[in-house]
């Protein structure tokens, strides 16, 4: 551990401190100025981009907005149809009355729950 000498500081240290000060102030202003310029450029580009996208969106709106919704609906319909079909199928093996078999209603709701669970599972493992 250094001991503290309350003597007159060396001139050379003060001078070096001054150099570092000049260097430091120049650097910190330059760096933040450059950063500001970069962000300004990005901002300008962004606003142009947004305007372009807006125009495109307006144009696109006339062409294909229905598609997306349809796709979604298809998915929904598929799930519901599947559920109904699965339900009907679940009813078939009635003639083999195993005791512990849950009722088809239970099964249907269970199936849907399970499906949703896996859907919400969202990469649980794959994402690592």
């Amino acid at each position: 551990m250094e001991t503290f000498h309350c003597e007159v500081p060396k001139m050379s240290q003060l001078l070096e401190g001054l150099y570092i000060t000049i260097l430091g102030i120049v650097v910190v202003f330059s760096v933040l100025a450059i950063l500001a310029i970069v962000m300004d450029l990005i901002g300008r580009t962004e606003r142009k981009l947004v305007e372009k996208e807006k125009k495109k969106e307006v144009e696109d709106k006339k062409v294909e907005p229905v598609k997306v919704e349809k796709k979604l609906d298809e998915k929904k319909i598929a799930i519901i149809t599947a559920a109904i079909l699965a339900y009907l199928r679940g009813k078939q093996p009635k003639e083999v009355p195993i005791k512990r078999k849950p009722s088809p209603n239970w099964w249907l709701s269970g199936l849907i729950t399970q499906m949703e669970e896996v859907e919400n599972f969202n990469y649980e493992i794959g994402k690592w």
């Binding site: 070096e16 001054l18 150099y19 570092i20 000049i22 260097l23 650097v27 319909i77 598929a78 149809t81 599947a82 109904i84 079909l85 699965a86 199928r89 679940g90 849950p102 099964w107 199936l111 399970q114 499906m115 896996v118 859907e119 599972f121 990469y123 649980e124 493992i125 794959g126 994402k127 690592w128």
Partner: protein, 400 residues
């Protein structure tokens, strides 16, 4: 020191003037990963940290990572982690944050094992327990690992590299990292990035392979409802797996052991605090360090080689042949079972849980909207995680 000297010094140590072409390319690679992660949500939990760390580590003189990844060490300290660190400190100066993460957390295998621990706490092995024979499909998909390994060998990679490349086909990030770290650390960044990238491309890679190998009739096969699985079975499963696999393939024991401890925490129902910690707080923290650690290995000297491109190409081979292996074995099981098994679920043996199971379900729904085989595909899906860990164990015992 005069002002002039100070300025000259400052400029000499400016990163911009020390930038190499390699740095620039690696920064672009890193930014590409960031872009894919954000724009297309490609495995963002890993690819975003990996990409941005790759950028940071390639800014010259940033001192985030000062040490080489696969240094030439005196033989007597090779297996001695703290002696290695001392040696590297002497040779290359004090460690940066990323050196500490890489040498203390990745190279010691702490991080991949803790990730497996967390994955265990997240995984429901129920579908595999309900229909144990689907576990074989998780084995079949490992064929892709060996196909890729043999192709890699044929292309001139050595055995250890080839094994690390092959394991990409297992579609398990931590297993890939675990094995590559042990066998071929100099290609770690390439195999890790390949594993995570292709994992998120499963919905693109698998469907053509599956369709080429199955008929629409086969894809339409419906499967019997899975039986419910009791809590007791779910508790016994991790214990039994750990013991069985540990006794048969001890070199797979660390991975399987941690996976199953995590799963036991989950299923026991008596340690919710710890199970939650394994899935959340610990998992999140470890994932951050995994991403930063792997990203810090993305350096020009080890990444910008023809090898990397070949590894990326071999990754596709691995995923595709794994899918094929699973589907073909699925067809065999279909025949044996008298058509009760939809061969597509074999494709889910490529783990990437639950991505590939979903792909299978999607293809099934395409042919027949009422065909629900998702839960059946989850069996091979989780079995694939175990299968890949076992294969990694075989590689380690043969080559480690």
């Amino acid at each position: 020191m005069g002002l002039e000297q100070a300025v000259v010094d400052f400029f000499n140590h400016m990163g911009l003037l020390n930038l190499t072409v390699g740095n620039v390319v690696m920064i672009i690679v890193g930014l590409t990963l960031v872009y894919l992660a954000i724009r297309y949500e490609m495995e963002p939990l890993l690819l975003l940290p990996i990409g941005i760390s790759a950028v940071l580590v390639n800014l010259p003189l940033s001192h985030m990572a000062n040490w080489p990844l696969a240094p030439q060490l005196p033989p007597e300290i090779q297996e001695n982690i703290f002696a290695t660190i001392s040696y590297l400190s002497q040779q290359y100066g004090p460690p940066g944050l990323f050196d500490l993460i890489y040498y203390l957390l990745i190279k010691t295998e702490v991080v991949p094992l803790l990730i497996f621990f967390g994955l265990g706490a997240m995984t429901d092995f129920g579908p595999m327990i309900a229909d144990p024979k689907t576990a074989l499909l998780g084995a079949a998909a490992q064929i892709g690992v060996f196909v890729a390994m043999l192709v890699a060998l044929a292309l001139g990679f050595n055995l250890k590299e080839a094994a690390s490349i092959g394991i990409i086909g297992g579609a398990d990030g931590p297993t890939t990292i675990y094995l590559t770290t042990k066998l071929a650390p100099h290609i770690l960044s390439a195999t890790a990035v390949a594993a995570y990238s292709y994992m998120s491309l499963v919905p693109l890679i698998q469907p053509p392979v599956i369709k080429a190998l199955t008929t629409p009739e086969e894809r339409r096969i419906r499967m019997e409802q899975l039986r419910p699985v009791s809590k007791r079975e779910k508790i016994l499963f991790p214990i039994a797996s750990m013991i069985v696999i540990g006794l048969l393939v001890p070199s797979a024991a660390p991975l399987i052991g941690m996976l199953m401890i995590g799963n036991l925490f989950r299923e026991s129902g008596v340690v919710q605090r710890l199970s939650k910690a394994a899935q959340e707080e610990l998992m999140n923290i470890v994932t951050i360090f995994l991403g930063l650690g792997i990203g810090s290995t993305m350096r020009a000297e080890s990444f910008l080689t023809p090898k990397t491109l070949m590894i990326l190409a071999l990754g596709v081979v691995a995923f595709a042949s794994a899918t094929a292996g699973g589907v073909l074995f699925g067809k065999i099981m279909m025949k044996i079972s008298g058509g009760k098994i939809n061969p597509m679920i074999g494709a889910a043996g490529v783990s990437a849980v639950p991505m590939s199971a979903r792909v299978v379900q999607r293809l099934a729904s395409e042919e027949d909207p009422g065909n629900f085989i998702l839960m059946h595909a989850m069996g091979p899906n989780v079995a694939g995680v175990i299968g890949t860990a076992v294969v990694a164990g075989v590689f380690l015992s043969a080559l480690g």
